[in-house]
Structure formats: C-alpha cells, structure tokens
C-alpha cells in the first residue's frame, strides 16, 4: 500500500450471527425498561377508576383519606425497623470486615446471608408464634416503668401483636441487605489509611473511627435507604403479625396499630371486588412510587460513590 492511498478504515465483516446476537441482547436489555414502564403504566391504568371514584363508592369518602393512614403506618413501621436494625447491622458489618478472624469471616457472612434466604411467610409464622409471646413480658415491664413516655403508654396488647413486634421482625428481615452493603463499603476502606492509623498507635476502634467510618458514611446512608425500601414493601410478616386497624397512632405497645399498605392489600385483596380492587391497586401504586423513589435515591448515592472510590 503506497502512502498516497489513505488506508480504508478496517471494518469487521457483518455476519448474520453477529447481527442476530447483538440484536437479541439489545432487545433483552430494552425489555427490562419496557417491563418497568409496564409496571407503572398498568398500575396507573387500573388505579384511575379509584382516583376518580365518587365519594360514596369508597368506604372512607375519598381515596386519599383511605390511603393516608396506610402511608403513615407503612413509613412508621419501616422507620422503627430501620432504627432498630441500623446499629446492629453496622456492628455486624464491622465485625465481619475488621474484627473477625480473616479465615472464618466469609463463613460468618454466609450465616447472615442465610437470614435473607428465609421466606417471609416463615418469618411471619415465627413472629406470631415465637417472638410475640417472647417479648410480651418485656412490653409489660416497659409499659409499667416507662409508660410516662407517650410512645410506650399502656394498656399493653394482650397478644404482643403490636407495631413494635412487627418492627422487630422487619428489622431482622432487613439486617442481611443492610449488613451486606455496609460490609462491602467497609472492606473498600483504603488499606493505607487503616495501616497509617494503626502505625500512629491508634487502637482498633480509633482506627475504625478515623479511617473506616468516615469513608463508609455515604455507603451506610444508602444501605439504610435500601433497608428502608425493603421494610416499606414487606408484606406477609406484617400481615400475619399485626392486628391491624386503619388509624394514625404513634403508640407502640397497644392493641390498636396502624397497618401498612402492603399488608392491607394482602389481607383484603382475596375478598375485594368491583371498585375495591381498584382502590387496593391504587394503594399499591402509591407504595410503588414511594419505594421506587427511596431505592433510586439510594442507588444514586452508591453509584456516585463508586465513581471515585477507585482512586483510593
């Protein structure tokens, strides 16, 4: 080839196999987007009758007065669960990443992951048959001794099927995901920072405080939000353990408890008909929007972190 002739750009031969294969993979990828869009669209389509229904068709007057207490209950239960789970999850993650002997750390991680493998209906059964009777004495003690705090005011529910029990079960259920993400972030903490801290004479906790926790803070926040997302959408454990009523109430130990959107759907859907089905679907849409927002924010934070954590 002489210098005068510009070399033609190299081009791979277009084979039919290649075209079909890349076409199939692009289609599969786009299908994910289509499915997600379909979830939103079909839920909206089925919710419209409930949103536009005349007040006499919905039990409580309008859809929004119906869904209000449910939204409150959903967020309230999930928030308590997160509050209970977060310190324990951070502790476990630190234990596995920085305290446990290196050789058994991976095995211990599996053990915590096993919790995630337990089906939620089994958690529900366990919550009502084992946990609720087990915590009841301590509820009585709390109500007797701390009852002056409005949160713990009596009279204590006789069955232990209160929102606090639900939050305990939810906390156990979200532990694995929160732990897994915290563990990942803690393991990514820059080795050199840790060694520098230890070399300056820091104790192990001081090292964790100086090098690991500040590095892991965004990861911990998004782990918390992912856990919150899980807790918001958890259905069966709540439906089985809670003795529900549609109210807004902050007390933790009484027998009147606000229920959650998901549990309300699970309990009422099998018998619902007519406009009732649409109302339940519309509450499902509200739940979808809430969890989508929480998850999207959490993932956004994680992904932004990923972009510059490679520099360390």
């Amino acid at each position: 080839m002489t210098a005068a002739v510009a070399p033609a750009p190299l081009k791979a031969k277009k084979r039919p196999g290649d075209r079909i294969f890349s076409g199939a993979s692009v289609t599969a990828g786009s299908l994910i987007l289509v499915i997600l869009a379909a979830v939103a669209l079909f839920l909206i389509a089925e919710s419209i009758p409930a949103l536009t229904a005349s007040p006499d068709q919905v039990e409580t007057g309008s859809f929004w007065t119906y869904v209000g207490p449910l939204v409150f209950g959903t967020i309230w239960a999930a928030a308590i669960a997160l509050l209970l789970a977060m310190p324990v999850a951070i502790g476990i993650a630190l234990f596995i990443s920085h305290y446990a002997p290196r050789r058994i750390a991976q095995f211990l991680g599996y053990l915590v992951d096993l919790l995630a493998a337990v089906p939620s209906v089994v958690f529900g059964l366990w919550g009502i048959k084992v946990l609720a009777p087990f915590v009841l004495p301590s509820y009585n003690w709390i109500a007797d001794n701390l009852g002056w705090i409005p949160l713990f005011a009596g009279p204590v529910s006789g069955t232990g099927r209160t929102i606090l029990t639900v939050a305990l079960v939810l906390a156990v259920m979200i532990l694995p995901i929160v732990t897994a993400i915290c563990r990942e972030v803690f393991l990514q903490a820059p080795r050199l920072h840790e060694e520098a801290a230890l070399a300056l004479g820091a104790t192990r906790w001081e090292m964790v405080q100086m090098a690991v926790l500040p590095f892991g803070r965004p990861g911990m926040i998004s782990a918390a939000m992912l856990g919150l997302g899980r807790a918001l959408g958890e259905t069966m454990a709540v439906a089985m353990v809670l003795s529900p009523s549609v109210i807004i109430s902050f007390v933790l130990l009484q027998s009147q408890n606000p229920t959650t959107i998901a549990a309300n759907i699970a309990l009422n859907f099998p018998e619902a008909n007519g406009i009732g089905v649409n109302v339940l679907l519309a509450t499902g849409l509200v739940l979808f929007i809430i969890t989508f927002a929480v998850n999207a924010i959490a993932r956004g934070v994680i992904n932004r972190r990923k972009a510059f954590s490679g520099a360390n």
Partner: protein, 357 residues
C-alpha cells in the same frame, strides 16, 4: 506485665490475654447464679437461659470496660467496649436465625409424613391431607418464571458487559438496581392489572400470572449476578479468540459463557431460592385452592408459601391441626431454599474456572 516494669511511663498496664474469656465466663456465672436464686426463691417460673446470657453479656460489657479503664486507661477501655459491642451485635443477629430454624424444625418435623407429600387438601376436614398440590404449584410457577427470566436475564447481562455503551446501558444498570427493590406485592399487583386488562377478566386468578410476577422479581437478580460473572472473565480470553478471527457472537457463546457457566448457574439458583418463598404476589394473582391443578393457564393454583399462609390464616375447628400443617409447609419451604443455596454454593466452588495456574 514485664513490659510495665522495664519501661515505666512509656507503656501502660495490659490485661492478661485470658481476661476477655475469663470476664465473660464470670459474668455469665454471676447472671446465672442470680437467675438460679430467683428460680429457687420462686419468683420466676423457670430458669431463664436467655436472661442469663443476655444479662451476663451486658454485665461483661460493663465489667471489661471498667477493668480495662482501671488497668489500661481510657482509650483501651473504649476499644474493648466497642469490640464487645460489635461482637455481641453479631451474636444478636444469629439469635433470631437459630430460634427460627429451631422452631421450624421442631414444630414441622412431626407432620412431615408420606401423606403430606402425596395428597392434596381436597375434601380434607380436620386431620390428614397434604401439600402435594402446593408443591406442584410452586414447582410449576417457579419453573415457568425461571424459563422466562433466565434467557432475558443472561442476554441483558451479555448486552451490559459485551455490547452496552452509553446512555442505554447506564439506564439499564441503574433501573436493574432499582428493580431489585420493587416490593413483591407490587409485582403481584402488576401481573394482576396486566392480565385483568389484557384478558378483560376483572377477577382473574391463574398460575401463569404468578410466574410473570415472579419473573419481574427474579430478573434483576439474574441480571446482576450474570453481569458480575461475565465481568470476571479475563479480557485476554476474548482477545485471544478475536485474534484467531472468531466472530464476536461465537466468542461470547463459545468462550465467555462456558468460562462463566458455573457462576451463572449459581446466580440463577440463588435467584430461584429468592423467589420460591414469595407469598404476597402469588396470593394476589395465583390465588389459593385445595385441589391439584397442573394447568398454568387456567384456574387458581396453590403454592407452598400461600399454603403455609392459608393454613395459618383460615384455621378449621381445631386450629392446632392447621398450624401443624403450616409449620410442616414452612419446614419443606426452608429445606428447599436451603438446598438450593447449598447446591448453588457447591457448584460455584467445584466448577469455578481455575484461572490461576
């Protein structure tokens, strides 16, 4: 202890090595003694093992940090306090796991019999009957969900790893992550809304709808794990293949996929294990029944998690019989999930490509 005498002023005292376990043992013994006294005095119905461990551990946390702050100084004391707290956080998380597994096994094992696996609940009042219809339904629905989600999932992963550049790939990665957080009940509602509108049957219940709901839940997990596995395949393998003139699609099917097949299998099995226990979506769209149903496309179909739930929620005249059946179903479910998890991890370990030589 000798270090203290050799360089006074530079180092502080250290607690002896055995102090951690020693203090823990003493704390437990003290708490146990207190509870034993309470038991003997008659103010408690039975000797509380849980109370002993709990208060013993709490006592340990206080004791070790006090001891340490006297002998070793404030900083070491804080370190020991946090070590104790972090470790007990881990143990605390294992308690529900152990309690749950123990309860399920001990309450479920009694009702696991041949009848349980060989008969349905049709025309069963009171004792007898089994979960055959539920097990069949679970296998059919989960199988259909797997058949639908695995090809889409693998192709999406191939797209993300081998082809995806630019905005579409970024959007898919992000949305797959978000999709893992979709509440399972929303997936069930989606399947219901979809088929109720498409087939124009407002009260629709059938097995295939459950499979679609499970597919929505399974897809993101399959995509994520396959993506991770495909990324692990070293680029040298791909380049060697290209250098031999092999087209891209053959490189993927003959080089990349076989290398990562063990990991992909593991990922798929873990995804199955995740959705096989889903209750809420199946309660919504597959409904519940007492009879066998082999047809995914018509009539209600029972599944194992829903079986457990309905046995608990709709008790007959003697609730204990139903509760026993619920526990037996729960045990079966846990056994299936654990088996899937175990096999998946074994496959990952045994068939992992030996890259380092």
């Amino acid at each position: 202890m000798t270090a203290v005498t050799s360089a006074p002023g530079l180092t502080t005292g250290r607690l002896p090595r055995f102090s951690t376990w020693g203090v823990l043992g003493v704390s437990w013994a003290i708490a146990g003694a207190v509870f034993l006294l309470l038991f003997i005095a008659g103010s408690m119905g039975e000797f509380s093992m849980v109370g002993t461990i709990f208060f013993g551990t709490a006592l340990y946390v206080v004791a070790i940090s006090t001891l340490s702050s006297i002998v070793e100084g404030g900083r070491q004391a804080k370190d020991r306090l946090m070590t104790a707290l972090v470790t007990s956080a881990f143990v605390l998380a294992l308690l529900p796991l152990v309690s749950l597994l123990w309860t399920t096994v001990s309450s479920g094992i009694g009702d696991l019999s041949l009848t349980f696996f060989s008969s349905s609940m049709r025309n069963v009042v009171g004792e007898g009957g089994g979960a055959l219809h539920a097990i069949t339904g679970t296998l059919l629905i989960t199988g259909a969900a797997t058949v639908m989600s695995v090809p889409i999932g693998i192709f999406t992963a191939i797209y993300l790893v081998e082809y995806g550049r630019g905005r579409l790939a970024k959007a898919i990665t992000f949305l797959v992550d978000v999709m893992t957080g979709i509440p399972s009940i929303v997936a069930g509602l989606f399947a219901f809304a979809f088929f109720a509108l498409i087939l124009n049957q407002p009260g629709i219940r059938f097995g295939f709808g459950g499979a679609v709901a499970l597919t929505v839940l399974m897809l993101p997990t399959v995509v994520r794990s396959c993506e991770e596995m495909l990324k692990l395949v070293p680029n040298e393998l791909r380049e060697a293949s290209y250098a031999l003139g092999v087209p891209k699609w053959l490189t993927v099917t003959k080089v990349v996929l076989p290398t990562s097949i063990a990991g992909i299998t593991t990922g798929v099995m873990l995804a199955i294990a995740r959705v096989i226990g889903e209750t809420a979506p199946l309660l919504i769209i597959a409904g519940f029944t007492q009879s066998m149903n082999y047809n995914l496309f018509s009539e209600r179909m029972m599944t194992l998690p829903v079986f457990v739930y309905t046995q608990y929620a709709n008790p007959g005249s003697d609730p204990q019989i139903n509760l026993d059946r619920a526990w037996a179903g729960a045990l079966t479910l846990i056994l299936i999930v654990m088996a899937l998890n175990l096999i998946a991890r074994l496959i990952a370990r045994v068939f992992a490509p030996k890259l380092a030589r």
